[in-house]
Symmetry: C2
Subunit: 501 residues, 2 copies
């Protein structure tokens, strides 16, 4: 390795440590911290974010990136070093456009907003949160201006969370999906009685929910020597380095799905992070490549595997054992249909696979409207409810089940909701290819044998970290860029039989 590359990597490793330190403090904030610690933790995060930013955007790193690019001229374009320099340059150019003061301001604002959001959500009091959302949105708008964009402010962020994509592409993906979902939902709605999910709504002991969920995640391959499960207001996964990747969940005592599928979802994120090659540790390549590809893995393990028919042959007997009085007399087919019930509902993270993308479409539209000043944030709760009525035919009974349900807007921008939909689409595209490559996959899943699938994902996706972006990965693995075809086939092929269409 050249002297310059060695120096570059040493500087990047410090930046990585600063980023990981923030992950530890944020995790503590969400899961362990006594309430008195909020202000100090907020300060710590702001100071570390500021130092991380100023270290990463140093002239020395900029100069080294240029020099090392020259050194690497003619090297294998898919090699770790070439990709490292390419991805880091993209990050560097973006980061240099944002003044350190704005980063600091955003971090402090987010810390305060999260505390207010937690209370507001508990009390379903949107008005107390509105000023903080407004401030976050002002900061986001200034961030978009700093990053720069061609036509729409949103594009400033698409380039961050999904490099290689733009809002035009997102619009077209959402249009495809809307065209497929709306008629499917209508067909299903005409046969609502076909599925009964009442067995999910019994009393399920919270500690047992946590234990069983974590058992399944471990069976998937989530490594607890390099991870752990905690409770938090909103489930999340966070990486403090590839050997310490933690997940959280929430537990609803009278609804089996909330904890179980949140854990399977977050374990997908976590296995991705745990699977990144150690050769990329301490560099900007050490994490998952984009929000959409990350979400493809959480959705794959939550839905494409977790809610599949083969999976229930493995999962359901274990749940029956854990909850003999609730599930002992039920049969696996009833359970499979119950966990796949399609029904317009208030909460995104509990939404079925068919309507889920409508939740995202709505948020994508509202974020664009907020960003472009087309909506008054003071009355966003009302706007939310009106639009929800339009898409879902329902009015949320309280803000906690409406505009206040997600933590994301408390965190502030960049907004990544579209990535959840991209995740569904990419997940289905990869999973279809996995089935082609492994004809026995369904059998494996029904026996609780997940290691071949994990190995396939490890080889094709996880090990690469951020070396390849979403479209590049899709082309390498499936021969095509990201597209909706596999997801639409999947959702029709699965839900029409369930509803006897």
């Amino acid at each position: 390795m050249s002297e310059k590359m060695t120096r570059l990597k040493a500087l990047l490793a410090e930046v990585s440590a600063l980023r990981q330190a923030q992950a530890v403090i944020s995790w503590d904030f969400e899961t362990q911290m006594p309430e008195g610690g909020a202000t100090a933790h907020g300060n710590q995060l702001a100071v570390l974010a500021g130092i991380e930013h100023s270290r990463f955007t140093s002239e020395e790193i900029g100069k080294l990136l240029d020099d090392v690019s020259v050194e690497l001229d003619g090297a294998d374009p898919d090699s770790d070093d070439v990709r490292l320099v390419q991805v880091t340059k993209h990050d560097y150019d973006r980061a240099c456009r944002v003044p350190a003061e704005l980063v600091d301001e955003q971090s402090r604002a987010a810390s305060e907003a999260v505390v207010v959001w937690q209370k507001a959500r508990k009390e379903s009091d949107f008005k107390s949160f509105a000023p903080y959302l407004k401030r976050n949105m002002d900061i986001t708008r200034r961030l978009a201006e700093a990053y720069g964009y061609k036509d729409r402010a949103y594009d400033a962020f698409v380039d961050l969370f999904e490099p290689g994509m733009d809002s035009a592409q997102l619009d077209s993906i959402f249009a495809d999906l809307k065209a497929a979902i709306v008629p499917l939902v209508q067909e299903i709605s005409a046969r609502q009685d076909a599925v009964d999910d009442s067995i999910l709504h019994q009393e399920y002991d919270p500690d047992t929910q946590l234990r069983v969920s974590l058992d399944i995640a471990q069976q998937y391959g989530y490594d607890l020597k390099r991870g752990r499960l905690d409770k938090s207001a909103h489930p999340f996964c966070t990486s403090m380095g590839m050997d310490d990747v933690r997940i959280t969940t929430r537990v609803i005592p009278n609804f089996l799905n909330a904890c179980l599928f949140a854990v399977l979802h977050e374990s997908g994120h976590a296995m991705y992070e745990q699977g990144v090659s150690h050769s990329l540790a301490g560099t900007p390549l050490e994490t998952g490549t984009s929000a959409g590809v990350h979400e493809s893995q959480s959705r794959l393990w939550e839905n494409l595997v977790g809610r599949s028919r083969p999976m229930q042959d493995f999962l359901f007997p274990r749940l029956q054992q854990a909850y003999p009085s609730q599930l002992g007399d039920a049969d696996v087919e009833t359970f499979y249909r119950a966990i796949n019930r399609v029904s317009p509902s208030y909460i995104r993270v509990e939404a079925d696979e068919v309507t889920y993308n409508l939740h995202i479409l709505m948020r994508y539209e509202l974020e664009n409207d907020m960003l472009e000043g087309k909506v008054d944030i003071e009355t966003l709760d009302e706007v939310w409810n009106e639009r929800f009525e339009q898409y879902f035919g329902l009015t949320p009974p309280r803000a906690a089940a409406g505009v206040l349900q997600d933590i994301h807007w408390a965190w502030g921008g960049p907004y990544i909701f579209p990535s959840y939909t991209l995740g569904n689409v990419i997940g289905a595209q990869l999973f279809a290819q996995a089935h082609k490559d492994m004809p026995n996959l369904d059998d494996d899943i029904s026996r609780g044998h997940f290691s071949d699938l994990l190995q396939w994902l490890q080889t094709n996706v996880y090990q690469h970290g951020r070396k390849f972006n979403a479209n590049e990965l899709a082309v390498r693995i499936t021969g095509e860029p990201v597209n909706t075809r596999a997801w639409i086939e999947y959702v029709r092929g699965k839900f029409r039989p369930i509803y006897g269409i």
Copy 2:
């Protein structure tokens, strides 16, 4: 406030945030982290320690300290600002003498050594830990050289953990104590049968131990909105700012004292940190003033209050209620005598009040010997056992109950064991004065009414943070510098009656 003072405080607040961030990551390391996280956490701590050091020792802070000193010429010498500058200058001068690389090296070495120590202690395998202790000691010796000292290397550290004291003063304090303890232990040893502590060695449910201990700490005044209790290999207290001060304990199922008195001990440290004036937040004055004064508070709440006769009228009925089958038939006098049994034992943190200072004396001597190269660290386990035999008439059965029992040497220097003895001495000196100022104190304690004592300590000690050093506080509160008289009177007055001497 002058512009320069404002700027100085802003820079110091960043340093404070960096220090607090390390406290969060260290706490996570000891209590929550999955084992895979050790290397990355170690890196994070090393990077943060390096940045903290380089920020604190910046030329700008040095210049500002000089300029602000001039501005403050003639101001009240006890004012926050004058003390801030004085204490910060002392810290600054010390910190500037240590190269950043050495700080970084020490931090990384400590992180690795703690992991090895944890395993070595579990397996009672000193040899695996010896190379790490040797490396820590090499680093410590280089630190002492960097700080500078007159006669003995140890003085380089006394000036750090007990500003205003030196090793000559420590030698004289230890000599006083030895002269008082040795005959007292002999008198007591002749009457060993006078106290039976078998009631403490029954099965005590671990979760109940934690709950009851925390209840008592809360009754003392430990604020759980700004703190929490966890388990760790070695009990400790850590401050992430005065509004987030956490304690840990360990639980031994068949020994009631270990958890209970560790929690009371750590709650004393924690109330001190929680009690520092908010006006000192974000400055070097925001924590307890020295290791010795800190330990005076943990020892005061653990022993002078917690093991006192009046306390048992409040504590014992609560323990009886929690453990009816173990303690229901016992009487308070038996319990009081049991928890105050004097007996040479292996483990420092479980030692009685009389022999405790002998444990410290032994460590103080060994640390001096290691520092001055008078002992071969490879065979320190043997040296430990020989010396233990001399002082206590016992040979530790395994390294976990001998040389490996404390985490401190894994952390590396500066070594603070003497501060535990100073804590006993200072605690007794303050407590004697508290009794003079509050004639009803014993009655209050017997009724579980601790708020007047807490308020007295708050006013006289806690609020000041690091404004005054140990001798200054002692003079302000008792009219005399730190001395052993009160402790010797206390220990004779308490233990002679218990043993019928």
